[in-house]
Amino acid sequence: MIALALLLAAAIEYSAPLKQFVGAVGKDGKPVLTQGQLHTLDGLPEHTRELLSTAIDNQIIGSAKHLGILLSVDMPAQSLALVAQDNCVLCHTDPGNVKARSLFSPDPKVSNSNPLLNLTEFVNDTHFRQGLSCSGCHGGTPKDESMANEIAQRWPSDPGLRHADRTWIPGFCARCHSDPAFMRGFSPAMPTDQLVKYQQSKHGTLLLGEHDSKAAQCVSCHGVHGIRGAKSRNSKVYAQRIPETCGTCHADAQYMAGYKNVNGDPLPTNQLAQYKLSVHGKALLEKGDLGAPACNGCHGNHGNNVAATAVAVASFSQACRTCHPTNASLFEASKHKKAFDEHQWPACEQCHGRHQIMKPTDALLANEPGALCFDCHAKYSKENLACGKTAAHFKGALTQLGEGKAELSGTVEHLAEAGLDVEPLTGVIGELSEAVVQTRTRVHSFDQGTFDSAATPGLETLARGRKLVADARAEHGFRRKGLLMAIGSLLLLASGLAFKIRGLGSRASDDEKRP
């Protein structure tokens, strides 16, 4: 093995410092660097190996083991080149140089070090890859061979102290991120209004106004050493991961104890659970539909506005309107708009809920206690009797359409297996699905005429579908009958033939009998 390593070293012509480490042998007699690590080393471009060699020469890469750790992390060559030029990273990844609590390692769990110091995450950090390394935030320069005290003092080692006051964090990140001229050099399309929005948000007012360090700031959601862009699947703020990121605090009853909403009630912590059951939650988390809103879809990103104040009421429904414009505009033209405004009710949320928005069913419309419309009207609008009839009409039509669609869909497979042509029927079912969607949407006008403009064609389509099914069944019956008739004739012919054969046989034997 050593010979092979030396041979390889000879083949690639390592510089002296590298050769020394490549050939290093541990106390147990086995080489320190594994085959995999040597393979990585050989695969590097020449100048990256030179950088490593220089670092070894300067004794910043302190041992073969240290080199091995660097080579074992899965990163592209250019990231390794960045690492090799950054003394901060080099020192802090050397287990022989720093204590466990300050050790940057590929897997903090294994090396028992600070979970934030994850080397594997760090090499994928977007700041690091753009060239902003440790020194960019912590101070000093990458060429420093030792760390000044003031750098250490900035980040106190005691976690209690560290978490005691986090009010400085938003301003710190904003040094760069609120500077459009600076950010233009890195990511021209990225917005630079995060701090302004944050300052006006609830998290911002809590942290910056009331010095409550429990409130979320940049690091809470984006992380610190493994920050990735929101489009990356591994980012804490990737669409599908946002609910769990927000839920880290907002679903933790203990953490949220003591916080109250605008009315003085304690803030609920069931939003995440409710969201996961909702249409939006299922669409985003289970179906993978990235068009479905996560928390930030309605609450915004940095300027989250959760307070249900009078001002905010209208703004809430606007959030729904971004994706559901037809329902919103129908509602605004309806009788309910005035009524809701008088009661100061938020439009969509009042009926559909807030976090646990379920797929609306026709049960909402039933004209009996327990149904949403009935209960609300019984309480607030007893004098409008016509509404009950309208609701019944809505429900009746929608039930017909829904049941009709289920009935038709159920027969499609049967008919297809029987060999009948189901394409027109499949087309009709598609039309019917759409009719259902359009009809349901028009419920929001709360006007029979508007509703019927979609319901009536829908019912016609249903009738067409039923006729297609009847025709198909008739065709099936015709085929069966035809088969039976054909078999009947064939059997008749066959039996006649059988008798004929028997007759021939007996005649033959008769012939034989005759002298």
Partner: protein, 456 residues
């Protein structure tokens, strides 16, 4: 009627022919009668293929944009189009089933012995042609299933030594399966193969008419016969009517096939060359054994590529099968030849096992079933069948030669129960056969042929 006959007779001398036909007889006796009808049923199904095929041809349009659509048109818009297509598909499978049973029955009855060698050879070629019909016809609907099955099937052509690549390109009309493949397969299926088949069937029938059907072993001329016209023919027609009833019932009740993998023909989705093959793709059932055998070979073996070795093996096996009339010396002498009956049983076990395995029986319906679970389950089934056949032969027919079928069963048992790889188990079996033959050759004393008259 007789005036028309006299008119023709004066011009073409029909009387000797009619006399010959009047006195033609089919050998009768024993249980073998039933098997004599199977050639006729195969012919009946072939005839129904020609008729339904002709009807389909009136509407079918080969071509990437029209093949699938025209078949959809036939099955949905043309009156009784669904029936014609369903009949065509069912009749194809029934024809091949009938052909295989016919082939094995003539094999076991040793109808190939002199003077009927060429009947066997033409029959063998007809078998290959029937498989060709099945393969070429399968692509014509240009749906997903057909497209991938054809890609996989034609791919195995690469394994033919020497001309492999050339053959692949000629078959496919290019490097990949495309519209060109469709045109070529269409020409094959509708013109080339029918012409050759009709010619060969004519030859095959001519031989049989001229020589008469083979009598049972041990006799050169049948003791008693059934007149061909009208007795045998009427019985033949009756059976054909019953086949027609079966065919019609199946075509109407199960228009898309019995629902077994490799035996279904729902039109499904149109072929999309850019889409990945869907899992569970399998060729038609009569190709499953070759498909499975290809899977059992490693990528490289004995200096050849695995598929090449597999194709070579299959070719050798088929070659032996075709040459049986000349290999079976004892049958030539009209002596009981249990060794060759054994060969037939071995062939059934070999092909049957591979086919069952290709159906993933015992795989519990998983997408990627555990191969050893499948091997075990199929081995259990096959070994039970092998035992039943053994018992039948030993006690009902007093056969004593079980070397070949025993070796086949051994391979199946080793693979299924002891997890030996299929190839290694095969090598063990081949060694067993070699040892067996060596023993038979070298053992002292003349081998006493069993008494004549004992059924082979």
């Amino acid at each position: 009627m007789s005036r028309a006959f006299d008119w023709l007779d004066k011009r073409y001398g029909l009387t000797p022919l009619v006399d010959f036909l009047k006195h033609k007889e089919v050998p009768v006796g024993g249980h073998s009668m039933v098997w004599y009808y199977l050639g006729g049923t195969t012919l009946f199904f072939f005839a129904s293929q020609v008729c339904t095929g002709l009807l389909l041809l009136l509407f079918y349009q080969p071509g990437e944009a029209t093949a699938y659509e025209s078949i959809r048109f036939i099955t949905t818009k043309v009156p009784f189009g669904w029936l014609v297509r369903s009949l065509h598909c069912w009749s194809a499978h029934l024809m091949i089933v009938s052909l295989i049973v016919h082939m094995f029955s003539t094999f076991f009855l040793k109808a190939y012995r002199p003077p009927r060698e060429l009947s066997w050879v033409t029959g063998f070629v007809l078998f290959m042609l029937a498989l060709g019909f099945g393969f070429s016809g399968y692509l014509l609907p240009w749906n997903e299933l057909a497209f991938f099955a054809t890609s996989v099937g034609t791919d195995s052509m690469k394994a033919v030594p020497g001309i492999g690549d050339w053959l692949l390109q000629v078959l496919r009309g290019g490097t990949d399966v495309s519209a060109q493949t469709l045109y070529r397969f269409f020409a094959l299926h509708v013109v080339a193969l029918p012409l050759i088949t009709v010619g060969l069937v004519g030859g095959h029938l001519l031989f049989i008419q001229r020589q008469g059907m083979a009598p049972a072993m041990g006799t050169h001329v049948a003791r008693r016969g059934l007149r061909f016209f009208p007795d045998f023919l009427l019985r033949d027609l009756l059976l054909w009517l019953l086949c027609l009833i079966l065919l019609a019932t199946l075509a109407v009740s199960l228009p898309y096939g019995p629902g077994l993998p490799g035996v279904e023909w729902e039109l499904g989705k149109k072929a999309n060359p850019l889409a990945p093959a869907y899992p569970g793709i399998k060729p038609e059932w009569y190709f499953l054994w070759v498909y499975q055998l290809l899977k059992e070979f490693p990528p490289h073996i004995l200096g050849m590529e695995g598929p090449q070795a597999a194709i070579l093996l299959v070719s050798v096996m088929l070659g032996i099968w075709a040459a049986v009339p000349w290999l079976d010396r004892r049958a030539q002498r009209d002596e009981s030849s249990t060794a060759f009956s054994d060969l037939g049983v071995a062939a059934i076990l070999f092909v049957g096992y591979l086919t069952l395995k290709a159906w993933d029986i015992g795989g519990k319906g998983l997408k990627v079933p555990d191969t050893f679970a499948v091997a075990r389950a199929t081995s259990i089934i096959t070994v039970i069948v092998a035992a039943a056949i053994f018992a039948l032969r030993r006690f009902a027919y007093q056969h004593r030669f079980f070397l070949l079928s025993g070796a086949a069963t051994l391979q199946i048992a080793l693979h299924g129960f002891l997890r030996v790889s299929y190839l290694n188990a095969g090598i063990v079996s081949v060694l067993l056969i070699a040892a067996g033959f060596a023993y038979l050759r070298l053992r002292p004393g003349p081998s006493v042929p069993p008494r004549l008259g004992v059924a082979p």
